[in-house]
């Protein structure tokens, strides 16, 4: 027993044994979850037979209920980064990560409360079904809609590669209990033969990279990624928005249950939270104080992340589309409340669970192996209950799947509606629209799958970059469109381009090695951006975007009142309530 000052005493955890390999029952729980996903996808497909295909496929006909709206919003915003990258950071940095994620205490209120009602109104008035659609209609600018569509596709492709990587890693872990079976070995052999034929990997490469990403387990990762891609692309393509939202409901429930179960089992194994905190202080006092080990979270960066999770979340098109799908205000209010509850039930339990994980396994997952901590703990905490282990392991998989499905649909809507129908072929037939929508969702899925075969190393950096990038590109033009009648077309364009360029430039300079000399903590990492004045690029991007939007709007000619009035005077006597037709370019 060791004395821990005022915190009592406890048995110090030695080098705990690493968790054992998975059980076949884990795959049973996983399989049950996947069957549920496919049933919901098939059911959703039936809805597409009725009504407007585009509005059904990309917006669910604006008929989401409060539970569905809340869970689809949460499931889409909680991605693989939350369940794979975030636990890894808690394990490495301890309690300071509670401060890092603290913005989620108010994220739902800010992101939905500030934009939801007005965005929904304007999208109805303009007949819009995508975010670029809203911008294009409000500012009467095909160029703005097209540019928004292109920026959206660029960011989403980068983000999807990271999500697919997480899906492949988790599937590999889930399959550990059946790797000796003939079926698995047969599939693996096919995977090895295909990689060999493509010249992408062979046994010799595996031996040379033993213990690393491209080591002998690489074909298992490829197999995992193929299963992940096939399932998520299939149900998204087949069922569209309804499939994505209904599966989001199932995935949202799995995510919440997974986080709570993980916390319960971690506390059970640790014997409470106080001994875990005490063990962390004993291992390294910096694990219980700010800024954490290696100056991980200076105050400036902590404030930046508070902005990212709240203000940045407001500018995410994938969330905005869900706000546009809300049928009425009572639904909006109930879902807004539920989103806050769900965030609390996911993020606080994750912090507690992985503080316990660090206490239980002090060194085993340090260094390059920290990304394995979540799937490994899911198995370690539930050795006696492998079915529950499967459910917990399904949580990050569900998080990756729901994010990917939402992004795939958004990307396909940008390609079909914002780029093809709006700019190339306005008179495209409904039948062609349907097949192009199916085709683009499937093709985008395949392209990302191939890219994810050789993914970048750091998942969390990809997700932070794309989140900050989309926030800085879309938030200012959207806020201007919704709330400022004096905003002009050039002003919105300047805001969008300014935000995009600022974020991309600061990340690009960082990756090129600028500003790394003498830097400590995350700023010193190879893939980190330049943290100008100690702040994340998102803060600078938002300042430039809003600043340019206001200045350029003030300096340019306002839109004619006849084009703006319907959005600001709708419902008032003598004013049109909504546009009668959707204008073509």
């Amino acid at each position: 027993m060791a004395d821990l000052g005022g915190w009592g005493s406890l048995t110090l955890w030695a080098e705990g044994a690493l968790p054992t390999r998975g059980s076949p029952y884990i795959l049973v729980a996983f399989g049950a979850y996947m069957v549920g996903v496919f049933l919901l996808g098939a059911l959703a497909h039936h809805l597409l037979e009725r009504g407007s295909f585009l509005k059904q496929y990309f917006l669910g006909d604006r008929k989401l209920g409060p539970w569905v709206l809340a869970l689809t919003y949460v499931a889409t915003s909680v991605s693989a980064g939350s369940f794979v990258g975030f636990p890894s950071l808690i394990y490495l940095n301890g309690w300071v990560m509670a401060f890092w994620i603290g913005g989620y205490m108010v994220a739902g209120l800010v992101a939905k409360g500030a934009l939801a009602k007005r965005l929904n109104q304007v999208s109805r008035l303009s007949g819009s079904i995508t975010v670029p659609d809203v911008l294009r209609e409000r500012f009467h600018s095909p160029a703005l809609g097209l540019l928004a569509g292109i920026f959206l596709v660029l960011f989403l492709i980068v983000n999807l590669v990271g999500q697919f990587k997480a899906g492949g890693l988790i599937m590999r872990k889930a399959a550990e209990g059946v790797t000796d079976t003939a079926v698995y070995q047969g599939a693996r052999d096919v995977s090895v033969a295909a990689l060999d034929a493509m010249g992408a990997w062979d046994e010799k490469t595996g031996e040379q990279n033993a213990g690393k990403f491209y080591g002998n387990e690489y074909p298992d990762y490829v197999l995992g990624i193929l299963i992940f891609a096939l399932t998520v692309v299939a149900y998204t393509t087949y069922g569209g928005f309804w499939a994505v939202t209904w599966t989001d409901v199932l995935q949202g429930l799995v995510i919440v249950a997974g986080a709570l179960l993980l916390m319960f089992f971690a506390l059970r194994q640790m014997g409470g939270l106080a001994p875990a905190t005490a063990a962390l202080r004993q291992q390294d006092p910096r694990l219980v104080t700010g800024p954490g080990p290696d100056n991980y979270l200076p105050i400036g960066l902590a404030v930046s992340f508070f902005f990212l999770w709240t203000i940045g979340a407001m500018g995410q098109p994938v969330g905005m589309v869900r706000l546009m799908a809300c049928p009425d205000t009572p639904t909006l209010k109930r879902s807004l409340f539920m989103i806050g509850i769900f965030y609390a039930l996911i993020y606080l339990p994750l912090v507690i669970a992985f503080v316990c994980a660090r206490a239980l396994y002090p060194t085993q997952y340090l260094g390059d192996r920290s990304d394995d901590i979540m799937p490994s703990m899911a198995l370690a905490f539930t050795e006696e209950f492998p079915l529950l282990g499967g459910l917990i392991l399904a949580a990050p998989y569900a998080a990756a799947m729901s994010a990917v499905a939402g992004f795939l649909l958004l990307m396909s809507s940008s390609l079909v509606r914002d780029i093809y129908q709006r700019n190339i072929n306005p008179s495209v037939s409904p039948r062609t629209v349907r097949w192009i929508s199916y085709g683009t969702t499937a093709v985008v899925g395949m392209v990302v799958t191939l890219s994810a075969m050789h993914p970048p190393d750091l998942l969390q950096y990809i997700i932070i970059f794309t989140g900050a990038g989309m926030g800085c590109t879309f938030l200012a033009p959207t806020v201007m469109a919704l709330y400022w009648r004096r905003a002009t077309r050039p002003g919105a364009l300047a805001a969008m381009i300014g935000g995009f360029c600022t974020v991309t430039l600061l990340w690009g300079l960082g990756m090129a090695g600028v500003g790394k000399e003498g830097a400590t903590g995350p700023a010193a990492k190879k893939f980190a951006p330049v943290y100008l004045f100690g702040l994340d690029p998102m803060i600078h991007g938002l300042a430039v975007s809003f600043g340019l939007g206001v200045v350029v709007s003030r300096l340019t000619k306002p839109l004619p009142a006849a084009l703006v009035d319907p959005y600001f005077l709708a419902g008032q006597e003598g004013q049109p309530e909504a546009k009668e037709t959707t204008p073509q370019p």
Binding site: R62, A98, V110, L125, P330, F337, E577
Partner: protein
């Protein structure tokens, strides 16, 4: 946005004073959390949830969201 600013200031000030540059031996425990995490993150998080009850069910007005004109472009 006032609530957002209040949360940002509360969390940042509480964490900066209670958790940064402090001797780890002086940090107390509240329900197993380091005291600065409890007062800087857990407590305001709970208050935010209470606030959201009032905001969503008493403050936010039931407005008409308008007629939906989407879907015309793809001819149903």
């Amino acid at each position: 946005m006032a609530v957002w600013l209040a949360c940002l200031l509360w969390s940042t000030i509480a964490a900066a004073i209670g958790g940064y540059g402090r001797d780890p031996d002086d940090i107390g425990l509240i329900a197993g959390f380091p005291d600065w995490v409890f007062w800087g993150i857990v407590a305001p998080w709970g208050l935010c949830l209470l606030f959201s009850v009032w905001f969503c069910f008493w403050f936010m007005a039931d407005d008409d969201l308008g007629k939906d004109t989407a879907g015309g472009a793809d001819h149903g």
